[in-house]
Structure formats: structure tokens, C-alpha cells
Symmetry: C2
Subunit: 555 residues, 2 copies
């Protein structure tokens, strides 16, 4: 299914006369779309480079619609010719309070104008699930690449030429209400129905009507069976979900000043969506570029560090406070993770009052300078957090550091203020287990026998993460969508507490068009799209978490 | 006397193999000295490129010493052969509390080893002026250039090739206690005797003994006549002296962190020397680079401006306070001039808390943004100054701005807080006269008839300045030293209150070696040398100010 994009394509395009804007597109998309950068509501996908095979469409007449497999990313060239049946009725079962998912598929052998969908209320014997409980949208195609020869997604790919690329259905676009389809083209329609907690158990019947040029193509039946069990609200889920948020990507993409009212407004629905997935943790950056420039939009420090002329330090917590309060207002309020006492570049930016300039101090855990610097900061930070009432939920967080480094850092934290919690995403080391309140290890590593239960009894979280590894299960745009669901089940099977992923929305340059990034398999850096669009992957992730919660609840 | 340095000389040297250090020297000196950069105590001058003419030295035998003309910069090639007499006795008359000046000259037809000087106490009938009242030092040769064809020193001279250069005696070096002289060489010895206020009037007799290789060359008699009148201490002088200080040049030259204890220690004697010249004004920078990069060491802001994430401004006054308090401790405490609401580049640097980065806001007087920005700052600044008890002596200072700009700025200041004083060095405009507390105009401009007296009665200063203009009188290293004395007399003749010069110590790269700068005639940027060395120019300037005070006192 994947087609190799020849690197010569980009070269061939490069010599044609294009505008500066188009040339920007080309550098990351391989081809221009002609639209303005960073579209939010309406946008054009990259041109499809796969052509449908007329032989495969033989026998398909006109336009049709049917219920598809929600675990399958239908390519635009997909032909329904081989299908033994085209299901027109769907039954989705779920607990009250649970989200259930479906994919409708529209295939057209001919050009079809103004293809649209109408979703009815779902009527039960004693109540109605209104259509507004169903979040639906056409599935949009985005450029992806592949995991690569090492079996995981960790290889850098600055120009993508060594990797196959393809267009995959991933993004659920609620804004595109009507579209024209070309001949021999298939289009998915995603539906997520959130069954209200308070409807009576029973069957709720409705329809999804597909139309073209104002005429009904097909009316698909949709039955949602609300089971008697009730799934708690996401805020009450026990699953410890920690998808790192990147506010800087939102500011850049929405072209609004960072931390402005417009910025917060742009983030609100995106972060509320995250809260509704059961997110527990607020991602904060307490130093400049904790992960150097690993993302398209690096994390700026939410705390300003000022070395005063008398040699004392002064810290500005305003941005940190604003961000934490904002996230809490979005419904994410259980834990505050602070990155990082161990940034990848062991260099800390500060305003030097004497020279009125930004300077860097380079110092590593284990050095006296490091301990002095951080002890002063941590004491001031703890004092501030106590005043805000946040100390008990604040963790100094680190990722992927060697044990000796961790031990040195932990010692500094504990000496400065034992009130801090500590979070680590990295290898499991028994020696530091007792100090790490929120310990996350990578799939397919495993906590030793008994550790998770013991830690749970001590009030500590033990969770798993995926990043560019493992190859499977993962949440890349080139991953099988079912892998995202599998994560919740995997965590349940491992008797663990939750899942961490390092990037909820560290968008690449043009996330709606091209999910590839210079490092790692495409989609590694984000799960949701600009405009607060969800994805097949994110919905499947929620599905898996729901399974986890249901299993917990049944135990 | 001036010899053209061929630009080909530098080129010729450039192709020889030299160390990186030497190559640095060459770029500004034309030739290497081999010593480390930025010497403080002991240093080698640039090699002399003028050779003595044996014909002129005909008849001069051995080594001799005599009292010279303190207004004359004796070149090293100077021959005493033509002198009708070589005075060996000197009588200096001055008020008690006054400084009196003399120059001894040593000329040697032959090589002379270990030339040194011994100054005795000066004995009077009832008291002694101890030798410690005499500040003395060999006059060192420094590279200068010339005023140039326009008649003033304002022409840029990035490579000096269009100007004659020469070595002139200017710097008084108290550290060089003994020196070897070449054959046919002349060397000045400067003496400043500060007559104590409290000695009885009368004649005080002593000697200056010149030795070579341990043997006395000549004993010169020195009589100081202390007159009955008493000159007040410099802090009580009425002359409004305003030589701008550059702390950043000292930090760079002494290679100490700016505003560190070492930095203050390095500056203390230099600034105490300035206080003893009667300086009244502390130069402060309240914005980043108020004069862009016109000096070798630009002025950093002594106040940090932070735009907080909520849009409000916060100001850090720590450096400003430290500097002002330091200067006051050096004895300069009458006025604080703050630069600048009108920096040459109308762009203001601030720390943007939201992005944790330094940003610039470009706005000009007359714009709403400018007024908002400055009103907020001035209100906060006035509050701070009131708390420190300094508001009454603080002037918002500007230089060389057009009248309409000044009017707009004055309006912003007065609205923000009428407690601020205003200082201006620029053209005289009647329309703003009433608002400018410290008005300084350039020589040879003149305040209109009656203006100075009227202003004085209003408690306002009216002073004169020189910068790269006029060509004469001025204080360049290529100026006649008497011109520096003339300034005080000129101010007295014009019935004005004082003198301003924009650079007390804005040192070029290597001020001990080369007084030239990329802009303006050499020496424009400084009057004193590293190591707290005075200069012929600075001593003459003090002499003129003393004349001013004596005239005032006699009126």
C-alpha cells in the first residue's frame, strides 16, 4: 500500500518556478497545496499520489455507503468490489458513560458532488441520545511514513528519502461538512458516540444518512445499546494517563502570542479533549528547552530565572501559574510534572541582571554548582507551590536518564524539600524505586514481579510508555489503529497504573498535511490535530483506556 | 612633527608570521608589542617610529634634566640643544587647597640606564608639604591622530589611513619608577602638587632629583608658594562638571565581571579621581545601549525591564542602585543623569516573560506606545527614587535631539511625574528652556544674552560641552594641552555654570597604547588611563576649573 516518494520528485519540483510560500510547502510536503500556512478550519490535503486501479473498481456502480471496520484506515483508492456484503446496519454496545466508535465508508465509482452526512438523534423507548452526543467527521488523509528497517520508529529521517511515504486516513474533521469525491474514490466517516451516563439502559436507534448533490445515497442504521453498567467520568478514571502537552506548538500554529488570551482560547478545547481522555498530569517546563530542540516547537521555560547583581537568584512563576491554573480549569488537575533538572543539554538559561543579557550556566548533576543552583531554585519553588497549595501534587520529572544521574538529582531534591514528588520515565532501577512516585518504563520492558502491587500499596504509580519504540503497539500514523486500543489492554494485562506518551500535540510544521517529522516514525509527535480535531489513533487510545477502566470496575 | 603611517606598513607586517595576539595588536596599533592585552601596571609603549636627528643633538653631552614647559608635549626626539637656558629651579604659586603643576624634562644624548626621580618633602618655615602631596609620573607616549581637514574631530576614521598619526606624551604613569633611555631621547616627568588647605601660607622648598644608574644627574629645585587664599574642596566647587563615566569599559579592560566586587574595586580610584576634579553628575543608563555602539564598550542598561505575561511591566533597579551608591561613596553625589528616553536607535530592550527571551520594542516619541511604555516606567522609577531619597537629584537626560522630539519627551516626563529633573546636551531652544534644569550647549554656540543669569536665578544650570567639535579648544590627545585649561576659562568668560564631556573613560581597545578610535579625533573618548593614570589633558582641565573657581571666589 505504501508507495515510495522518489526524492527526485522534490528535486523535479524544485526547479519549477514557485512562490516563496509554495517553496516552503515543498520543503516539508514534497509538493505545494497553494493554501496559506497553518490552516485551522478549512484546508486542502496534499495531492493524492496513489491512483485507483479501474480493474479493481470493475462492477462498482455509482456511489454507495456502508458500515466499515473502524480498525481499518481505508485508503482513498479502496474499492468495495470484493466485499461480500455492504453492511447497512450497525449495533454499538457500551456502558452508560462510555464512548463507542464506528466508521462509515462512502465509495464512489463516479464523480460525486456535495457528499454529506446527516446524523439523527438516537431514540430509545423512554429517552433519546441526541445527535450532539455523536462527534463525527470525514476522515482526512495525511502523509505518513513507516517504522523502518530496525523494527521501531527511532531512526532519524531528515529528508524521508529512505522511507516509504503514503497518505493515510487519520484525522477526524468535523468542519468539512460537504465534499466532492472523484471517480473511484473511497472516503471514511468517523463517529464517536458518547453514551450519556444518565440515559436508561436500552437500545437507541437512529440513522446516518449519506447524501450527494442533495439526494440520499444510503441511510445507514445505527443502534447504540446502552448497557446498565455505568462508566465513571474520565476525571474519576483510575488510569494514570500522561500525554505531554506542548502549548508552544499551539501558539505557533495558531499564530497567536504565546500565553495571550487568544493562545489560551485556542488551547482550551484541545486540552479539554485531553481531560476527557482521563489525563491526570500537567506538563510544565521549568527550564529552557528541557529537550533541546527535539520538537518543531521547543519548550520554553515557564519559569524565569534571574541572577541578580548581588549573586542571589529570583524566579518568576507567573507563566507557570497561568498555565497550571489554565490546565486545571480544563479539568486536568491531579499532578504537575516539572521538566527538567536533567535537560538533554545540561545548560541552564538565566537572565544575568549585571549584563542585562541571557546567559547559560553549564553544570551537571554531581557538581557543587549544580547542587547550589538547584537547591536555591527548589526551595523557592517549594515555597511558591505551598502558597498555591500545589506542592503535594507537583513532581520533579525526568526522562531517560542513567541511574547514577537520577540518584544525584534525587538527593538534591530530597535535601532541598522532601515535599516534592519525583517522576521518571526511563529504565527501572530497584535502587531508586522508593524515591520515584511516578515511575514509567518503556514497552516492552516489565516491572519485576510484585513491584507494581507493592508500589501501589505505597501510593506510587507504575506505568508504561511508548515513544519511537516499540514498533508495535504504538500510535504512529502508520500504526494499525487497533494498536492504540491495545495499549490500555496491555497496561491492564501488566497490572500497571497507566500510560505515558511524550507528545500529545508536539505538532510538526504542518500537522494536518504531513505527520512526518525529521526524527522518528510519522505521528510520533502528536495524537490530535489543529482545530481540536481528534484522530483514529486518539479515539482508539480512549477505547483501550475505557477497557482498562471496565476491567478494573469488574474486578 | 606628525609622520604619516603608511597603510602599507600594516600590510607589510600582515604577511609576516605573527601570533594571534600580535595580529590583534596590528589591527589597531599597526604593529605588535608582544605583551598581553589590557596591561594595567607595567606596559610597553608602541615602538617609536620617529628617529632623533643627530644634527639636532650636536653639542648635547650626556644626560641632563631641567624644568620644562608644562603646556608642551615634549616628543621623544626633542633636543635641548637650542635652549638658551635649562632652568633648574621652579616656583609654583597657588592658593592653599589648589593643585599646581610642573613638568621636568630629562634629555640624554647617550644611552642612560635606570633613570629615576626622587621627590623630597617641601619644607616651609613652620610646616611641611609632604612628598605624598605630589602626584608624579613619567609621561608616557601614546598614539594619536589629528583633527582632520574639516577643522573638527568628527570625521570617522575606521582605518586611520587618511590621517597622520604620531606618538605624544599624554599619560602620567606613576608605576614606572625607573626607565632606560636610548641615545638622543627626551622624557617628561609630570608633577601635580596639591597644596593642603591647612598649611600656613608661605614658601615650601624641596627638590626633584633625577638619577641614572644610581648617580644623581641633576637636582632640580622646587618651590611651592602657598598663598593665603583657600580654594574650597572640589566637592564644594560651584563648577558644574559632568564627564560621563563608562563602567563597562573598566570591566572589559580589567577583565572582571561587570558589577562584581573586583569591578567596583577597579573603578574606585578612577571615580575618586573624577570626584576630586569636582564632578557633580553620575552617569546612568536606564535603557539598553542608549548610544547604540558608539563606544568600544556600549552602555548596558542598569535597569532591567521585564514585560510580565499579564502585560504589566516590572523593573529591576538593583544595578542602578549599586552604581549610584558606589558613585556616591566615591564622592560624586549631586546629580544622577539617566540615559536615555531618546536612545539613538529608538528601540527598547526588555525581557519578555512569556517567551523567556529578550525582545525589542521600537517606538518613537510622539507615539501612543512610547507614551504608555515610558509613563509606566517613569512612575515606577519615580516611586523607587523617592524611596531612595534621590528623586530631587535625578534628571532624565538626553543629548543632541531635535526640539520637537524633546518637547514630546518632556511632556511625557512631566505628566508621569513632575518631580523629575531634565537634562539636555544639545542645541538651545527657547521653547523648552523652562523645562530643562541642566541645559548644555556645544562650544562655540552661546546662550542668548541674559539667559544664563535668568536660569541661574531659577536654580537651573547652563553649561557648555565639547565633543568631536569644536576643533579648538578641545581635549584630544592631539590637542594642545593648554586647550584643556582654556575650557574652564571659557566657561568663566561666558558666565556659564560648567562643562560637560561625553567621555571620561570610554576607552578604545588599548587606551595606554593607542588613543585613536574608529570615530573622531584621538582621545575624544577618554581623559584618564587604565591603572587610574591621569593625563596632561585631565590635569590641565582641572587647572582651568580651579581658575574658574578662583575667579568666582574673587568676584
Amino acid at each position: 500500500m505504501l508507495k515510495r516518494i522518489l526524492s527526485t520528485l522534490a528535486l523535479a519540483l524544485a526547479v519549477t518556478s514557485v512562490s516563496a510560500q509554495e517553496s516552503v510547502w515543498k520543503t516539508h510536503c514534497g509538493t505545494p497545496t497553494g493554501q496559506d500556512k497553518f490552516p485551522i478550519y478549512s484546508y486542502k490535503e496534499l495531492p493524492a499520489f496513489e491512483k485507483s486501479d479501474p480493474a479493481q473498481w470493475k462492477g462498482v456502480k455509482g456511489i454507495t455507503a456502508f458500515w466499515g471496520d473502524k480498525d481499518f484506515r481505508y485508503p482513498a483508492t479502496y474499492s468495495p468490489a470484493g466485499l461480500k456484503s455492504v453492511p447497512v446496519a450497525k449495533v454499538l454496545k457500551g456502558w452508560r458513560g462510555e464512548r463507542v466508535f464506528a466508521q462509515a465508508v462512502i465509495s464512489s465509482a463516479v464523480e460525486a458532488k456535495d457528499v454529506e452526512y446527516v446524523i439523527s438523534d438516537l431514540k430509545g423507548s423512554a429517552a433519546v441520545i441526541p445527535a450532539s452526543c455523536i462527534e463525527a467527521g470525514f476522515l482526512r488523509y495525511v502523509m505518513t511514513d513507516e517504522i523502518g528497517p530496525t523494527g521501531n520508529g527511532c531512526n532519524a529521517r531528515p529528508d524521508h528519502s529512505a522511507y516509504d511515504s503514503s497518505m493515510v486516513a487519520d484525522c477526524v474533521d468535523p468542519y468539512l461538512k460537504s465534499m466532492d469525491m472523484g471517480a473511484m474514490q473511497t472516503q471514511g466517516l468517523w463517529l464517536t458516540c458518547w453514551i450519556p451516563q444518565d440515559v436508561p439502559a436500552g437500545t437507541y436507534r437512529g440513522t446516518v444518512t449519506i447524501k450527494s448533490a442533495g439526494k440520499t445515497v444510503r441511510t445507514l442504521k445505527l443502534d447504540v445499546v446502552a448497557q446498565k453498567e455505568v462508566l465513571p467520568l474520565p476525571k474519576d478514571w483510575s488510569f494514570h494517563l500522561d500525554l505531554w502537552q506542548n502549548p508552544f506548538a499551539v501558539a505557533r500554529y495558531y499564530q497567536v502570542p504565546v500565553w495571550s488570551k487568544d493562545h489560551l482560547e485556542a488551547m482550551r478545547p484541545i486540552m479539554e479533549r485531553l481531560a476527557k481522555a482521563g489525563q491526570k498530569v500537567i506538563t510544565t517546563s521549568i527550564t529552557h528547552h528541557p529537550w533541546h530542540s527535539q520538537t518543531e516547537d521547543p519548550f520554553e521555560s515557564m519559569i524565569t530565572w534571574t541572577k541578580k547583581v548581588d549573586g542571589t537568584w529570583e524566579y518568576g512563576f507567573d507563566v507557570f501559574d497561568m498555565w497550571v491554573e489554565f490546565m486545571m480549569s480544563c479539568g486536568i488537575d491531579q499532578q504537575i510534572n516539572c521538566y527538567s533538572m536533567a535537560p538533554w543539554k545540561l545548560s541552564f538559561l538565566y537572565l544575568d541582571q549585571a549584563t542585562y543579557s541571557l546567559k547559560e550556566i553549564s553544570t551537571a548533576p554531581g557538581e557543587a554548582t549544580y547542587e547550589l543552583l538547584w537547591t536555591d531554585f527548589l526551595k523557592a519553588f517549594a515555597k511558591h507551590l505551598r502558597e498555591k497549595g500545589w506542592l503535594g501534587k507537583t513532581a520533579i520529572a525526568m526522562d531517560e536518564r542513567p541511574m547514577d544521574v537520577m540518584k544525584q538529582i534525587i538527593s538534591v531534591i530530597k535535601k532541598a524539600d522532601p515535599g516534592f514528588k519525583i517522576a521518571l520515565a526511563g529504565n527501572y532501577y530497584e535502587e531508586i524505586d522508593k524515591d520515584v512516585d511516578d515511575y514509567c518504563i518503556v514497552v516492552p520492558d516489565k516491572f519485576p514481579e510484585g513491584v507494581v502491587d507493592r508500589r501501589r500499596s505505597e501510593g506510587k504509580f507504575s506505568t508504561y510508555y511508548t515513544c519511537c519504540q516499540p514498533g508495535k503497539p504504538n500510535t504512529f500514523t502508520c500504526s494499525d489503529p487497533a494498536e492504540s486500543r491495545e495499549i490500555g489492554l496491555l497496561v491492564a494485562n501488566l497490572n500497571a497504573d497507566g500510560y505515558l506518551r511524550w507528545a500529545y500535540n508536539s505538532w510538526p510544521l504542518e500537522p494536518l498535511l504531513d505527520s512526518r517529522f525529521r526524527s522518528w516514525a510519522a505521528g510520533d509527535t502528536y495524537l490530535v490535530y489543529p482545530g481540536n480535531r481528534t484522530s483514529i489513533r486518539f479515539e482508539h487510545l480512549i477505547e483501550g483506556i475505557q477497557e482498562y477502566e471496565k476491567l478494573k470496575s469488574l474486578k
